[in-house]
Symmetry: C2
Subunit: 193 residues, 2 copies
Amino acid sequence: MRKGELTRQAILDEAVRMARYSGLSGLTIGSLAAAADMSKSGVYAHFKSKEALQLACMERNSEQFIDEVIRPALAKPRGVTRLQAIVEYWMRWYSHPGGCLFLAAAAEFDDMTGPLHDQMVADQRGLLDSIARVASTAVSEGEFTGDTDLFQVAQEVLGILLSYNWMSRILTYPDAAERAWAAFNRLVDSHRI
Amino acid sequence: MRKGELTRQAILDEAVRMARYSGLSGLTIGSLAAAADMSKSGVYAHFKSKEALQLACMERNSEQFIDEVIRPALAKPRGVTRLQAIVEYWMRWYSHPGGCLFLAAAAEFDDMTGPLHDQMVADQRGLLDSIARVASTAVSEGEFTGDTDLFQVAQEVLGILLSYNWMSRILTYPDAAERAWAAFNRLVDSHRI
DNA sequence: GCAAAACTAGCACGATCGTGCTGAAAAATC
DNA sequence: GATTTTTCAGCACGATCGTGCTAGTTTTGC
């Protein structure tokens, strides 16, 4: 009853950690069991199927993202300050060992049907909405012009984040962060009142 | 001698097509053989290992990218026109059934060691250099200021492309292309002399 | 046309995958 | 402390994976 939920969370944390490296498809119950010092069936019993395990991983990952990116950003003052904060925390999120599970899931499930694909799309939509929502506070605070296209801002910020991830994680360019901030500042200035 | 190379290419084309959907790790020799109407060992004989098959897929994919994106762009006049062209062809490249194999490979091999990872990094570096090289023609043609940071441009163009891919392919936002061009125009204007 | 080379189907191997049953150990409830 | 429920290891299953050998067919070079 309580012990079960505890080990389930422990398994899930380990699963998310492993999935960041190998992806959710590359994650196998056998290796997960070994990492969690349990038997294969012991792990399996907590999730009635592999798909359920993968979905649980995505859910856990989203929780961690909220904890590490969304909530800290919301603690900052509304407006450009908060927009800058979410980008900063987001860039830190990308530097997790193994990378970003959202990105891995998107690459794995984009051409697929079923619950995994649907959950992935919902997650991605949530990420984009988060940016747009924070950007909207810059409008309501009078920092951005009233006719600002929030999803234009969201798409461009996402682009800055994605290319930063590419440059720093894959190509290991040391100037990636600096250039990302240059792009961000130019974007913000173009919408300033 | 000649027949062998022919079927090898046919297998490879089919393999790349499949890998766009499932990734290079998800690609299995069994399903590839079925799609190519051959026996498993018949396919396997052309590539002495699965890793060699995957590497050959990456090579074939790069050739196709050159044919469909790089070469057509180089046929355009140097400068902003060519930069705009490479973005346009690149966006079309992303709309291939199954998506972009460069992106899939990057997600699969980023945290890995070995030839597959190395080839992927080399490919990605090549993609970025392509953008920077085209951007440099805008400088030499006198359209961009002389102090333009070419890799700043490259990183931002890559961001526009990546976020376009995300928005259109995963989230199926219809305005993704329009917004990508808006971002592109703003970027170009900021570097115009 | 013939000999040599290249190509590919058949088959089998060890390994690993997800899944599921069964029973013992542990924990929770009273 | 007894009992009921939960938790988990052992084990086995069918399927599929990559790999490789062996023979026979097809294609090539002369």
